[in-house]
Amino acid sequence: MRVNSDKLIAALRQQLAEYEHKLQVEEIGNVVEVGDGIAVVDGLRGVMSQELLDFSGGVMAVAFNLEEETVGCILLGPDEEIQEGDQVRRTGRIAETSVGEAVFGRVMTPLAEPLDDRGPIAADQTRPLELKAPGVIERQPVCEPLYTGIKAIDAMTPIGRGQRELIIGDRQIGKTAIAIDTIINQRDSDVRCIYVAIGQKLSGVRRIAAILQEHGAMEYTCIVAACASDPAALLYIAPYAGCTIGEHERENGRHALVIYDDLSKHAKAYRELSLLLRRPPGREAYPGDIFNLHSRLLERACKLSEERGGGSLTALPIVETQEGDYSAYIPTNVISITDGQIYLEPELFHQGVRPAVNVGLSVSRVGGAAQPQMMRQVSGRLRTDLAAYREYEAFTRFASELDERTRQILGRGQRMVEVLKQRQYAPLSSVEQTIAIFAGTRGHWDDIEPDRIDELEPQLIEFIYEHHPDVVETLTETEEIEEEMAQRLTDAVEEFKGSLEAEPSDQE
């Protein structure tokens, strides 16, 4: 590579043509104390809360504690270079990040510095990280569905656009997988996605980006990553940055989905900062405003009224529990803020029920209103069937001595559990889900061995798409399944089962 000096000089000249010399009036302060990602600065009398501060050497910080004589700030970069007595400048700007078209398809830090290899992020708009959530008048109830593409969720705990649905569970049981599948499932919808990685391994973030890329989901997705090695301040601002990017879409009448993975690490980063800034500790050593930390973030997800453009921001926060203890401080906080939770259970996961959604503990408080009539019809009996199955499950080991009715309940339950199992990265459209659940709840699988359902279900869907496109068309167009429609669907499923018996060799 060679640098052409003439061209370089010409380019510099052009860039500096716009530079205009003005008398610069600045407010400065001096570093009194620095260490562990925080700094105490003397001076800066006029500083605003949350204002960006420029430390000599290019490190930025956010003013956090405004005290009588000093300002406590959280550093957004390494603190090694900063020394006592260094000059600190006000920037006059509240902490902000880039928003708009340019950030989608990118992997970046909360301050919009690129983490991928595609050069600087050329966004022409910025937006403050902390903004007040829209008021009551500006909102409307959740009314449109946001499909996750996962049968167990779309059928039992449907999510609406503008909803906040918590994904909660122990480590390593597929919390992130649900979020990723949901992003992948938005490829045919108009929902933009933002995935906020808080305190994760860089390799993990890299892997997620690769998976999204592979499934064609990266172009409408922005990954905001504050990794485990980043300063706590960056972890703290990451979800607000993601939220701001989504809010920009919402304000412009579009739809966005933001995933916070995960808020327990966020709470820990905030605890670290608070303790270092000597704010008094409370329960589990978290500061007193830890509830507000999450509520002000999640309140910003909403469905705007038609007058405001009807845009929406859906939030899927993730919280990790320790040993299934969802009554710990942070989980209970976030459960009470959100409009429902998807509870994942390790036992189910290890039994092979994946996604390991515990149907009894998972709820969606507002999503029902957004669930299409069709899905409600076919999944109506699902919950009761499964509840009855759980009740009788203990008797399964005496299978031979059971009466007919119990055997039936158990058989149906087992098959429903099978129907709700789903492979990763394979989200289904709402019509595909309707067919799959219809076959289960109407008892069409009752004479099939449960362990064959996993293999037969995709075949059934394919069969109906191929041989009965009229059924698919009606399902896509109508909102309700009428008697005649149900009959046609039943016939189609029976025809598929008939074709299985006709050519058994295919299944071997």
Partner: protein, 138 residues
């Protein structure tokens, strides 16, 4: 102990220690000593005097010493700007390369060559890299 500000920080820390159940007598001794040091320093006692009278102090940095007339004009201009009596403390600082820099409390009015260069650098940093200036070698 160069300035009142530093002294104030120091006293504040001492009082914090006393509050946390430190030796009050020792803290008192320390404060008395501090006072002696401060009073013996001409610069500090001057500062204390200014603060008492409500006179603001402006530090003017230049590369060459100002002449008496320049100083008077500058002092009049700054007084007009701040709307009150101002005591000017002149310093020569070759680091600013040229021009002058005035510091009043937390406010810096930077008209130095160094400051201008720094701001130019910022403009260049923010602009997109000139891709046409770099040629790929075979």
């Amino acid at each position: 102990m160069g300035s009142i500000r530093e002294a104030r920080q120091y006293v504040k820390r001492l009082l914090e220690i006393a509050e946390q159940g430190g030796d009050v007598e020792a803290v008192g001794r320390e404060l008395r000593e501090l006072r002696e040091v401060m009073e013996s320093s001409a610069v500090v006692s001057q500062q204390v005097e200014y603060e008492r009278q409500g006179i603001k102090q402006a530090v003017v940095e230049t590369t060459v010493p100002l002449t008496g007339e320049q100083q008077q004009r500058l002092s009049a201009a700054i007084q007009k700007l701040l709307g009150g009596p101002v005591a000017i403390q002149q310093q020569t600082n070759p680091e600013i390369i040229g021009g002058l820099r005035i510091t009043v409390d937390d406010v810096v009015i930077d008209n130095s060559l160094r400051g201008q260069l720094a701001r130019m650098l910022q403009v260049v940093h923010q602009a997109p890299a000139p891709a046409e200036a770099v040629e790929e070698d075979e």
